[in-house]
């Protein structure tokens, strides 16, 4: 499993490349690279496949975008079908250029969608939560619990629906929701209590646990609260000064106010005794993925200069394909290669 940050760099490189081109050849190639990556990182033991496969997404979106654009845009030299102008809304010439331009938009959307699908498959939501600053540790825990709670609640809903169906319950009026809602609510509250108890039993305490730690933490929170209030006042005052034609002092005050708030967050974070479990240490695979993605993006921007853009208007032409620029896109495939290799020993003890 790759480090979440490596995946972020990969995603940013992918987004830069996709948004820098309108050439359908490059877009298709990039999408293919993303799909290959998605296929490579999907673990067989996880039933959670992407809810909407990128292939199916393309199947819907590309024709739809083409059609909509053809109906909205009436320019272009190659007229496929001349609908009488008198017809409301759809009247006017239907051009091949407009169809192609629309399909291109659909392709772009597909590429973006696929890139995000990869991130979704690669990085558990839990890892995203780890990026929440430590000062908000309780918030992070609550967020992670909400993620676990949602599927359980759905399962429970199913159970309750069945239980009510077997005693002859039918859904006819609004009132009929009550037999489903009440057990769900009560059951959810009971489960929340149980979970809170389980968390307390495993040492989760927002107050640091002991009386002494709680007191020290409260004092620290008090200090950082003062600091952040001062910071907010600084930003406010800076804004006012800037409005009063004092740009230098205004900017200075805003900057120092922001610094004070960051410091307050850091102070609070430090007072919470807590460490984070690092699932994947940063290793050569991460360097490979990050390096590959960055080189691909830079090289594509440089070498693809002449062929990146493509415009079907006013008359259709065949898009230019530069082999060098196309090859750089393969840099985005690196995760697929290294993840495969890593998966084999993922069950082995890392130490």
């Amino acid at each position: 499993m790759l480090h979440a940050a490596a995946w972020f760099v990969w995603l940013i490189a992918a987004l830069v490349i996709v948004s820098a081109t309108r050439n359908p050849l490059y877009l298709t190639l990039a999408t293919a690279a993303f799909m290959t990556t998605a296929r490579a990182i999907r673990r067989p033991d996880e039933l959670s496949a992407a809810p909407l496969a990128p292939g199916r997404f393309a199947l819907y979106v590309v024709p739809l975008a083409a059609l909509i654009n053809a109906l909205l845009s009436r320019t272009g030299d190659t007229v496929l079908l001349a609908i009488p102008r008198a017809w409301p809304l759809i009247g006017g010439p239907l051009t091949a250029e407009a169809l192609v331009y629309g399909a291109l938009n659909g392709l772009l959307l597909t590429a973006l969608f696929t890139a995000f699908t990869v991130l979704n498959l690669a990085v558990p939501v839990r890892d995203l939560i780890r990026f929440i600053p430590r000062a908000f540790y309780p918030v992070a825990v609550v967020a992670s619990i909400a993620i676990t709670f949602a599927p359980t609640t759905l399962r429970q809903m199913q159970q309750i629906r069945e239980a009510q169906a077997i005693r002859g319950h039918r859904m006819r009026r609004l009132r009929d929701w009550l037999p489903l809602f009440m057990p769900l609510l009560v059951g959810g509250l009971e489960r929340a209590l149980q979970l809170a108890e389980a968390m307390a039993a495993r040492g989760f305490a927002s107050d640091g646990g002991t009386v002494h730690a709680a007191r020290a933490q409260a004092a620290c929170h008090e200090r950082s609260r003062m600091v952040s209030i001062a910071g907010l006042l600084g930003i406010l005052g800076g804004g006012l000064l800037a409005a009063w034609q004092q740009p230098f002092w205004g900017t200075a005050l805003i900057l120092s106010g922001s610094a004070a708030i960051v410091a307050a967050l850091w102070l609070t974070g430090r007072s919470i005794p807590h460490t984070t479990y690092r699932r994947a240490p940063w290793g050569y695979r991460e360097w490979l993925v990050v390096g590959g993605a960055l080189v691909a993006a830079a090289a594509f921007l440089g070498w693809g200069q002449g062929s990146r853009m493509y415009n079907p208007y006013p008359a259709l032409t065949w898009p230019v394909f530069e082999t060098l620029a196309g090859t750089t896109l393969l840099g985005l495939l690196l995760p697929a290669l290294v993840v495969n290799e890593h998966d084999v020993d993922s069950t082995a003890n890392p130490r």
């Binding site: 033991d45 839990r126 005693r167």
Partner: protein, 544 residues
């Protein structure tokens, strides 16, 4: 290691204390079993060990508790978490994270263990419970037994000296429960961990326990000591100990081996069973299914199952978790439409019937009766079912009050169902189902979480209904219940019925499902204590 001196604890707004003047002491490295009926204070006692009582629950606690040199009342649960690992009843309700390794890391993160050491501790905890191959798995892809082992590993991550477990096997099938117990015994023996465990199914634990703590529910003082001292004073015991007491075996056998040493000395064992089964009417089946096939996605859940359920019989359906038992029940009432095969109720196919219509003729009690209950009073629950089926309370096939009387709930008619005990709640759910007087009743693991008394009450009820002609299908892991109640038994595995017939034959043929009495007297046909006592008295009468 653990000392309680005159501990009395009352929950907030409770009329009487949950623990009354409890004094006990549990030595280092003991394996202590906490017994008592539901509501006797077993969970409360366990929660005193790590300070969840009173820190989490509120209420008033008097007396003195010392656990591993610490006072859990002065310290907080967060401090106690390093000394006491805690495992709860429902493996799913205690998970905070969604992956095995993250779940184990949670306690370590809270305790601010440095990341390098964390790695080693997680690896240790995984290895101890043989979970290493599952390390990166998502928790919802694990089986119930695996989940409970993850919960145990998570509790062990902080390397506590004491493990407290609140009915940890009640949600598991017998094999998974045995695996969990094996892990616990190993931790107790090899690491010297003190284990304190509350449980209803004593037969599973007694062979390993070296301390028993009995909490009587009549307010008498708690008893603690070696099993042989305490057990004779506990009212409801597993078959082995009940028989041993009836026959005056001394010292009281705790394991099957000790019991067999006594039973082998008895000669002249007649084969007959004491109880006569229900009067089965084999002419027409109330519920019948042929060639049922069902699947969840690519996984086959049922592979050609034939079942027939007749008036006046109790049929038990046994099998591991995931064998397809619940799927079969759901198919029989139309909650799940089979891919192939057909179901007939009272001779009519249900293929085109509404679930509600089928369920008026076939009652189905799901695993969790809580999913059923939502009304303000017990009586109202019964009325709601009648209204659902569009019939007036006056026209009900059985008056709700009469049914409540039979369920032993007559005095609870105006109570809020969710305030009742587990056993009572289940009987309310039964009432809500049986008020339409169906010809058949299907029950999914009805004894889960029930103490011996509630189980006996349920058993009496089912037998009475059977004798009046009800057809009953019982899905259960509880072998002793099958031995007591079932006329026929079926064993299911991977979606197919692999054994069926007379319950004595089926149970005795399977090494996993053999009841204690059958193990004690392998040459007989006996399944229950009553069988054995009856058989032994028959054997001794002619000679005297």
């Amino acid at each position: 290691m653990i000392d309680f001196a005159h501990v009395t604890y009352t929950y907030p707004d409770a009329a009487r204390p949950a623990l009354r003047d409890v004094s006990l002491s549990i030595p280092d490295s003991a394996f202590a079993l906490v017994v008592g009926s539901s509501g006797a204070g077993k969970s409360t006692l366990l929660r005193c060990l790590n300070g969840l009582v009173p820190h989490f629950s509120g209420g008033t606690l008097t007396g003195r508790i010392v656990v591993d040199g610490l006072d859990p009342v002065a310290a907080t649960p967060s401090v106690m978490s390093r000394a006491v690992g805690f495992v709860f009843q429902d493996p799913e309700a205690q998970f905070v994270m969604d992956r095995v390794e993250d779940e184990i890391a949670f306690a370590l993160e809270n305790a601010a263990i440095p990341p390098e050491e964390m790695e080693a501790r997680i690896a240790d905890a995984l290895a101890l419970l043989r979970l290493t191959p599952l390390r990166r798995r998502k928790l919802d892809t694990l089986s119930g037994g695996e989940k409970q082992r993850v919960a145990l590993a998570a509790a062990l991550a902080l390397r506590p000296r004491i493990l407290a477990l609140d009915e940890p096997t009640s949600q598991l099938d017998p094999q998974s429960a045995a695996e969990l117990l094996e892990a616990l015994v190993q931790l107790n023996k090899s690491l010297g961990l003190t284990v304190v465990l509350a449980e209803h199914r004593l037969e599973r634990i007694l062979p390993f326990a070296d301390q028993v703590i009995y909490l009587p529910d009549d307010g008498a003082p708690a008893l603690a000591g070696p099993p042989r001292e305490i057990l004779p004073r506990v009212p409801l015991l597993p078959p082995l100990q009940s028989l041993a007491q009836a026959l005056g075996w001394s010292p009281l056998p705790l394991t099957m081996e000790e019991g067999s040493a006594f039973s082998r000395q008895l000669s002249a064992i007649s084969g007959q069973r004491s109880a006569v089964g229900g009067q089965q009417d084999t002419v027409g089946a109330v519920v019948e299914a042929q060639g049922l096939e069902a699947a969840y996605g690519q996984t086959m859940a049922l592979r050609g199952v034939d079942v027939a359920l007749h008036r006046g019989e109790i049929v038990a359906l046994l099998g591991r978790n995931g064998a397809g038992k619940t799927t079969l029940l759901k198919s029989l009432v139309g909650l799940l439409r089979p891919r192939r095969g057909e179901v007939w109720v009272e001779g009519r196919s249900i293929a085109k019937d509404d679930v509600a219509d089928v369920c008026r003729r076939v009652g189905y009690l799901p695993q969790d009766p809580n999913a059923l209950l939502f009304a303000d009073t017990v009586l109202e629950e019964l009325h709601i079912t009648l209204r659902n089926h569009g019939s007036a309370v006056e026209d009900a096939p059985i008056a709700p009050e009469v049914l409540l009387e039979r369920l032993g709930l007559a005095d609870k008619a105006q109570r809020y169902p969710r305030d009742l005990s587990v056993g009572e709640r289940q009987r309310v759910a039964l009432g809500a189902i049986m008020v339409t007087q169906p010809g058949a009743l299907l029950l999914d693991e009805p004894t889960r979480g029930l103490d011996y008394r509630a189980k006996a009450q349920l058993l009496d009820l089912l037998r009475a209904w059977r004798d009046e002609g009800l057809a009953i299908l019982l899905v259960t892991h509880d072998v002793e219940l099958v031995a007591e109640a079932a006329d026929r038994a079926m064993i299911m595995d991977q979606g197919a019925i692999i054994a069926q017939g007379n319950s004595a034959d089926v149970l005795r043929a399977s090494p996993t499902f053999m009841p204690q009495i059958a193990r004690l007297f392998p040459a007989s046909e006996w399944l229950t204590v009553a069988d054995a006592l009856y058989g032994l008295s028959c054997a001794s009468t002619p000679s005297s």
